[in-house]
């Protein structure tokens, strides 16, 4: 009797437990950081970045090509709004070459998750010539428009 009751209670507990939140997908294009004609050739290159928010962990993958100098660092950053640059909130891994990949995971707090959902988080890729930024990708949610 008791084992059966225990099984029923366990089943009820499982059913009553909140379902784990579905992972949310984000993506963005790697575009040149703000520049003018004088340093245009220093910040070339393109690529894409994808990110998955599972719980509070944001897992990022991406690739890039066509940089005019080797990539050096990659960061997750948070701005005041989409398109408004801001501060680094996490470090990522990157290939140290003109073509390569970006990867890493960052645990976000509630404010950072809210910013992510507003489009205010972005990945910044640095390079030798673009030491303070070569490319960036603003992360957008599933409603991100296609080409």
């Amino acid at each position: 009797m008791m084992p059966r009751l225990g099984a029923v209670l366990l089943m009820l507990a499982v059913l009553a437990a909140p379902l784990p939140a579905a992972a949310q997908e984000f993506a963005g294009d790697l575009d040149p950081v703000p520049h003018d004609f004088s340093d245009r050739d220093d910040v070339v290159g393109m690529g894409t970045v994808s990110a998955t928010l599972s719980g509070t962990t944001l897992t990022i993958t991406g690739n890039f090509t066509g940089l005019s100098s080797p990539a050096t660092n990659a960061h997750l950053k948070m701005g005041l709004a989409k398109g408004v640059p801001g501060a680094t909130i996490g470090e990522l891994n990157t290939t140290h070459a003109a073509k390569g990949e970006i990867s890493g995971s960052v645990r976000l707090n509630s404010a950072q998750i809210a910013a992510l959902k507003k489009g205010a988080l972005y990945i910044q890729l640095d390079s030798v010539k673009g030491a303070d930024g070569n490319s960036w990708a603003w992360l957008e949610g599933a409603e991100r428009p296609s080409t």
Binding site: V33, P34, F37, L80, G83
Partner: protein
């Protein structure tokens, strides 16, 4: 990416302090240019650069400062070789890379000298490479601070390439004077004013060219136009004659069917900068009216091209580019060139069409002691700059009201101009003026205290829905506005593309709330703006296709970081006073061009298309259900008005820039469009962001298309 580029404004300011302090405190390195290069470079600078960057090297409009802290912030940590490379590949605008290597070296040497660098004993070349902050400290010599003498510049300038005055004589046969009734109800085949009708529609009732046959369009004739300057032209057509404004304030009359030149008047002065093109002429009775880039108003005999009268609108360095309009025998004209602090504030003025006698003046800068004069944070009138009107107005004959958009205040950023949170009337406002008296009937300010070079100056389009008499306009922020044009009441606002400048637009009043960091901006700190000064929407005007009740809008998708400078608060000081860095608008896949159609009644989007190159021409649509528009990468295309589907396109000689029109001669419909170069942000941003687009240094041209005979 340059150092100090991003958000870290306090770090940026500290870095600047360290750079300058370090440079000033150290023994400067030996000179890297010869003494003779200073005078030679100054001469070339005056000839090739001063028109945009100014005689004090302080910069203006989109042209950055080339001396002082602004220059050192941008270039202090870079090398003389990089500076030479930049100048020799990107300058002068419109003639990039075309000067000799020696000339570029001399100009580079002059710029270094203008920033405190001392000469040495060997000439600078393109291979000379030292860190600029190591030889220059940003201290501008006194003679440059005072301004290089314009007389000296003029004396060194080569003689004009063309003589002025009536250079080709001829007579328009059977010219029919243009009456008030014709302006109010233009003949179907005519294009008598800037946007064709007083309501600003850019819509032709012609139907021969339609969605089914537009693919058969063929070139009928073409006409090479003046090179140099900025070409952003509207051909004006009346009774088979085309009146065409070229750069250098040249006006021509052409047979609109054959392209035969009838007369030409080279009014002058010749264009010396790739900026400030004349956008339109006006016709009234037997005269052609042109407001010149040096702020004079000319009346030419429409039959012969002879000058009948001319008057000064404002003293130099004011100018006029937006074009003129005629209402009840008065010529109404705006003004631009109000960047710097001056004893003359920007205004709209009216002149008797027959005699040129000034009738009235309305100051678009609210001056002390006048209504709205208390909205400039107590600045004296001489420190109230900007509020230019660089687009011609529209007119409602029933309400007898003329509508004008007013540009932003100057300097661009409120931190530079020291206006705090003041609204600075009548910047970025719609003005409703009585054309007979110049009296203000009402105004609506779209952005109070605008701070990021986001003008709301463009065409005011007058649209009726039953008893609703509305006015629609769209500015660089990409917000489409709808007002009641009888009283200025706000009726609606629609965001047509991504923007991050306003955190809120009040749905009842239209009042905008700026993002907090824009309100709290400081000089020498970067502030982000999407869209940036390219727009959103810029001078490339909309078309209102009345049968489908659609307004078709060319848009650009780019952003900037903008950094304002401190300015001299004295006459001659001020200016636009900000540096910019450009970037693609997030989420656009690097598509800078967007064409969108909105139903004007309920302001819902009907369709949109995006493409890599921005649209550099206005839109013209027709009763045949076709809209025409051209882009930065030389493509001129026709789209279905109802769907946006591309129906036809062709490649022209250079950027499709200007205001396409449609007209008819002997019952045959034509489409005329110009290619052009020069201009501000709409040229500058794609030139930087789209390196794959290659354009010739010349190619200002008129093309006229029609169906096969």
């Amino acid at each position: 990416m340059k150092s100090m580029r991003l958000f870290a404004t306090s770090v940026a300011a500290l870095s600047l302090f360290l750079v300058l302090g370090h440079a000033q405190g150290q023994q400067q390195a030996a000179g890297v240019f010869a003494p003779g290069q200073i005078s030679a470079g100054q001469r070339e600078y005056l000839e090739n650069c001063a028109g945009c960057h100014g005689n004090t090297l302080a910069g203006a409009n989109d042209s950055p400062a080339l001396a002082g802290p602004g220059f050192m912030q941008s270039w202090g940590n870079r090398t003389t070789k990089a500076l030479y490379q930049f100048i020799s590949t990107a300058m002068p605008v419109g003639n990039e890379g075309k000067l000799s290597a020696g000339t570029y070296a001399d100009i580079t040497a002059f710029l270094l000298s203008a920033n405190g660098a001392m000469p040495g004993d060997r000439p600078l070349t393109g291979n000379t490479e030292v860190r600029i902050a190591g030889i220059a400290n940003g201290q501008v010599p006194a003679d440059i601070q005072k301004g290089l003498a314009p007389a000296e510049a003029a004396a060194r300038r080569p003689a004009p390439t063309s003589r002025h005055g009536l250079t080709v004589g001829g007579t328009v046969a059977n010219y029919a004077p243009v009456s008030d009734a014709m302006l109010t109800h233009p003949a179907d085949g005519d294009w008598l004013m800037y946007r064709r009708n007083y309501q600003g529609w850019s819509y032709s009732p012609l139907t021969e060219i339609n969605g089914q046959n537009v693919k058969s369009l063929q070139l009928k004739w073409s006409w090479a136009m003046n090179e140099g300057g900025a070409s952003e032209v509207t051909p004006i057509v009346h009774d088979g004659v085309m009146f065409l404004s070229n750069t250098s304030n040249t006006v021509q009359a052409l047979n609109a069917k054959t392209g035969e030149l009838i007369w030409e008047n080279r009014i002058g002065p010749d264009a010396t900068v790739a900026y400030g093109g004349t956008r339109s002429l006006a016709l009234y009775e037997d005269k052609v009216y042109v407001a010149t880039t040096d702020a004079k108003l000319y009346a030419l005999d429409a039959r012969t091209g002879n000058t009948v009268w001319h008057v000064e609108i404002a003293p130099p360095p004011k100018g006029e580019t937006g074009g003129v309009m005629v209402i009840h025998g008065k010529v109404l004209v705006g003004m631009m060139g109000c960047d710097n602090y001056s004893t003359v504030n920007c205004h709209i003025s009216a002149y008797d069409a027959e005699t040129g006698k000034q009738d009235w003046v309305f100051y678009t800068t609210a001056r002390q002691g006048t209504p709205g004069g208390d909205t400039w944070n107590n600045l004296p009138d001489t420190q109230r700059a900007g509020t230019d009107t660089w687009i011609a107005g529209t007119y409602d004959p029933d309400l007898n009201t003329s509508y004008w958009g007013v540009a932003q205040a100057k300097p661009w950023m409120r931190a530079s101009r020291k206006t705090g949170g003041a609204s600075v009337l009548y910047s970025n406002a719609t003005l409703a003026l009585d054309p007979d008296t110049g009296k203000l009937k009402w105004y609506y300010q779209h952005i109070q205290g605008e701070s990021l070079d986001l003008d709301e100056v463009f065409e005011r389009v007058l649209i009726d829905h039953g008893t609703e008499k509305s006015l629609m306009t769209i500015g660089k922020d990409g917000v489409l506005w709808k007002l009641d044009r009888a009283d200025g009441k706000f009726l609606g606002a629609k965001q047509t593309l991504f923007q991050n400048v306003f955190s809120k637009i009040d749905p009842k009043t239209g009042e905008v709330t700026y993002r907090p960091d824009i309100v709290n901006q400081k000089t020498n700190e970067w502030v982000a703006s999407c869209p940036g000064p390219e727009g959103g929407h810029d001078w490339q005007a909309t078309s209102y296709n009345q049968p489908n009740d659609l307004i078709i809008i060319p848009l650009s998708q780019s952003c900037v970081l903008m950094k304002g400078r401190d300015v001299d608060m004295k006459v001659g000081g001020g200016g636009t006073a900000a540096s910019q860095l450009f970037y693609f608008m997030p989420g656009t896949h690097r598509n800078m061009g967007k064409l969108v159609a909105y139903n004007t009644k309920d302001m819902t989007e009907a369709w949109s298309l995006q493409q890599r190159s921005p649209f550099l021409s206005a839109v013209v649509s027709t009763a045949g259900g076709v809209a025409f528009v051209g882009d930065f990468d030389r493509v001129f295309k026709a789209v279905d008005v109802k769907t946006g589907k591309i129906l036809w396109q062709t490649r022209l000689g250079n950027t499709v820039q200007g205001y396409p029109v449609s007209f008819s001669v002997d019952g045959k419909q034509y489409i005329a469009v110009t290619t052009g170069l020069g201009g501000g942000s709409p040229e500058q941003k794609p030139t930087t962001l789209l390196p794959e687009v290659h354009r010739a240094a010349t190619g200002q041209q008129l093309y006229v298309f029609a169906l096969p005979d």
